[in-house]
Symmetry: C2
Subunit: 340 residues, 2 copies
C-alpha cells in the first residue's frame, strides 16, 4: 500500500513538472535555397557555412534550453547570420541595381499572432530587430523605407552607415550581372531590362523557426532581396503569410526562394491552412506546398517549419538549401545539399 502511494506520488509530481514546462524546445534555421552544388563549393567555404549555421543554431537553442522564449531564440539565430557576410541578409546583403543594400525582414509570434515587418531599409544594423520593434512597440504590422528607419532609430536600435552592409563579393556579383545584362540587352528586346537575373541562383535569405518550453512558436526571416533589383522591389520575406507565418495551433514557417512565386502562392499560410483544414501533419503540409504546388507553379525555393510538438520539416525543391536544426532530443543537424 505504501509502495503504491509512493508510485502515485512520483507519477503525480512528474505530471506537474511536465505540465509546467510541457514542451521540449527545438529550433530550425535556413540560410537560403538555390543551385548549391558540391562541385562548385570549396572545402573551406563549405566548412565556413557549416560552422556559421551551427553557431546560429546554438545561439538560438541556448535561449530555449534555459527557458527563454521562441521570439528571442529566432532573433538570436538570425542575428548571427545577419552579421555574417556569408548570407544575403544584414552584412553581406546583395546590391540593388543602383548599388544600394535594401533590406527586408519579418517576425511573427505564434501565441498572439502579432507580427512585424520592415521593407526597403538601409540603415538599421539588424533588420529582424526592426521588425520585432514594429511588432512590439507599435500598433502596426508593416513599415517601409525611411519611415521604418526613423521608427527603428526612435526605438533605440543600432543605426549604421549604409556602407556597413557593403561586401566586395556582393558588389562584384552586381557588376558581373550588370555586364551580363548589358550583353543580353545588345542581343535582346528592350523588355530584357526588366527580367530578373539569377546567374548563381543562390537566394541566400535567412530564417529561423522555434518552439519554446511554453509551447509557443515563432518565425522570423531577413533578407537583402534579389541582386540587381530595381524600383523598390520587395519579395516575400516581409509579406506575412508568404515568407513568414506562425500560429501556435498549426506551425511556424520561414521561406526562402523566388519571392514573387512565394507571394502569389501565399506559401507560409498555405502550409498552416493545410494542417488546419485538411488535417495534414507538418511534414505532409510543407511537402505538399513546396514539393508539389510550388513545383507545378514554377516557384524555386524551400521552407523551414516546426510545430508545437517540435516536429521539423525542411523541404526544398532546389539542388540545395543551407539549413540546420536542433531537435527536441537536442540532436544537431546541418545540411547544404539535397542528399544529406
Amino acid at each position: 500500500m505504501k509502495r503504491y502511494f509512493l508510485l502515485m506520488l512520483t507519477l503525480w509530481v512528474s505530471l506537474i513538472a511536465f505540465a509546467q514546462t510541457g514542451h521540449k524546445p527545438a529550433i530550425a534555421i535556413h540560410g537560403g535555397a538555390g543551385t548549391i552544388l558540391k562541385e562548385n563549393m570549396s572545402a573551406t567555404m563549405e566548412a565556413e557555412y557549416r560552422a556559421k549555421l551551427e553557431e546560429a543554431l546554438t545561439a538560438g537553442y541556448e535561449i530555449l534550453e534555459t527557458g527563454g522564449n521562441s521570439l528571442d531564440a529566432v532573433v538570436a539565430a538570425i542575428q548571427v547570420m545577419e552579421e555574417s557576410p556569408l548570407f544575403n541578409a544584414g552584412k553581406g546583403a546583395v546590391f540593388t541595381n543602383n548599388e544600394k543594400n535594401e533590406l527586408d525582414a519579418a517576425i511573427m509570434d505564434g501565441k498572439t499572432r502579432l507580427a512585424g515587418t520592415v521593407a526597403g531599409i538601409t540603415t538599421v544594423k539588424s533588420p529582424v530587430a526592426a521588425a520585432r520593434a514594429v511588432m512590439e512597440k507599435s500598433p502596426h504590422v508593416m513599415m517601409i523605407g525611411q519611415g521604418a528607419e526613423q521608427f527603428a532609430k526612435e526605438q533605440g536600435l543600432e543605426i549604421v552607415d549604409p556602407s556597413y552592409f557593403y561586401t566586395k563579393k556582393r558588389y562584384d556579383q552586381l557588376q558581373k550581372i550588370k555586364e551580363t545584362e548589358k550583353q543580353q540587352l545588345d542581343h535582346s528586346n528592350e523588355q530584357g531590362s526588366l527580367l530578373p537575373q539569377f546567374p548563381d541562383q543562390k537566394f541566400g535569405t535567412v530564417g529561423a523557426v522555434a518552439v519554446d518550453q511554453e509551447g509557443n512558436l515563432a518565425a522570423a526571416t531577413s533578407t537583402g532581396g534579389m541582386t540587381n533589383k530595381r524600383y523598390g522591389r520587395v519579395g516575400d520575406v516581409p509579406i506575412i503569410g508568404a515568407g513568414t507565418y506562425a500560429d501556435n495551433n498549426t506551425c511556424a514557417v520561414s521561406a526562402t526562394g523566388h519571392g514573387e512565386y512565394f507571394i502569389r502562392s501565399v506559401v507560409a499560410y498555405d502550409i498552416s491552412a493545410l494542417m488546419k483544414y485538411k488535417n495534414m501533419n507538418l511534414k505532409e503540409a510543407a511537402e505538399e506546398v513546396v514539393l508539389k504546388k510550388l513545383v507545378d507553379f514554377g516557384g524555386d525555393g524551400g521552407v523551414i517549419s516546426i510545430d508545437r510538438a517540435g516536429n521539423i520539416a525542411m523541404p526544398f525543391n532546389t539542388s540545395g538549401m543551407y539549413r540546420g536544426s536542433i531537435d527536441t532530443q537536442g540532436k544537431l543537424y546541418i545540411g547544404i545539399y539535397k542528399e544529406e
Copy 2:
C-alpha cells in the same frame, strides 16, 4: 417531326453560344467599411455616395457586358472611386502624420494568379494602374516608394504633383485628430503617440471584384491607408493574400478594414482556402472569416467576394460598408448600412 428538329437546333445553337461565352459577367465593389450610421449622414451626402457607387459599378459592368476582361473591369470601377474625393483612395486619400498622401494598391488575376502591388507612392494619379503595370510589365509583384513611382513613370502612367491628392476635408480630419491626440498625450503615457486614432472609423478603402464572360476572376484594391499614419505604415491592401486575392478555382476577394488584423489573419486567402480545403461555398467561407474568425480576433471590416459562377458575398462586421454589385442577371444593388 419538323417542330422537334427546330427545337433541337435552337437548343444546340444556345448551347454553343453558352459554351463560347460560358459565364455571365458580374461585378461587386466596396468603398470602405466602418462606423457608418444613417443618423450621422445627410441625405445629400448619402445620395452622392450612392450615385458614385453606381457610376463605378456601371463603368466596370459595361466592359464585362461587351466581352471585356475582368482586369479591365475592376480597374475601371476603382478608377471612378480613386478620382472621387468621397473615398479614401487616389484623390481624397487621408493624410499621414507629416501631412502627405501615401497610397497603396494591388491587383490580382485569377486566371494566371499573377499579381501586382505598390505601397507608399505619392505621385501616380491612379495607384491601381501602377499596381497593374507592376503585374504586367515587370517580373515583380511588389514595388514600394520612389522606386515604384519611377517604374510607373517609365511605363507612361499619368504622374501628378502630390497636391493633386489634397482635399480640404481630409486635411481638416488630420488636424482634428492631431489635436485630439495632443490632448490625449497630455493625459496619457508617452506610448500614446503610437496608438492609432480612429475617431470616425470609416476606413474608406475602395475595391472591386469581377468575373468576365470567359469565367476569369480579378480582384483589385486601392487606399490612402490610415489617417495620421506614421513611419511608412502599410496596411493589408498591397499584401497579396490579406487585402487582395484572386484564383479562378475559388474566388476573388477585396477587403477593407483595420489592416493590421487583416494581415495577421491572411483574410483574402483564408476565404479561398476554406473553399478549396473545406468545400465551403463562397458565402459560407466569406462569412466564416469576416463574421466569425475576424470578430473573435478583434478585426473590424468587411470584404467583397465573387466566384466563377458569379455568386457574390459581401459580409462586414461593422455598422456599415459602402458597397454595390451588378449580378449575373444584370440586377443593380447598392448598400451602405447594415439593414439593406
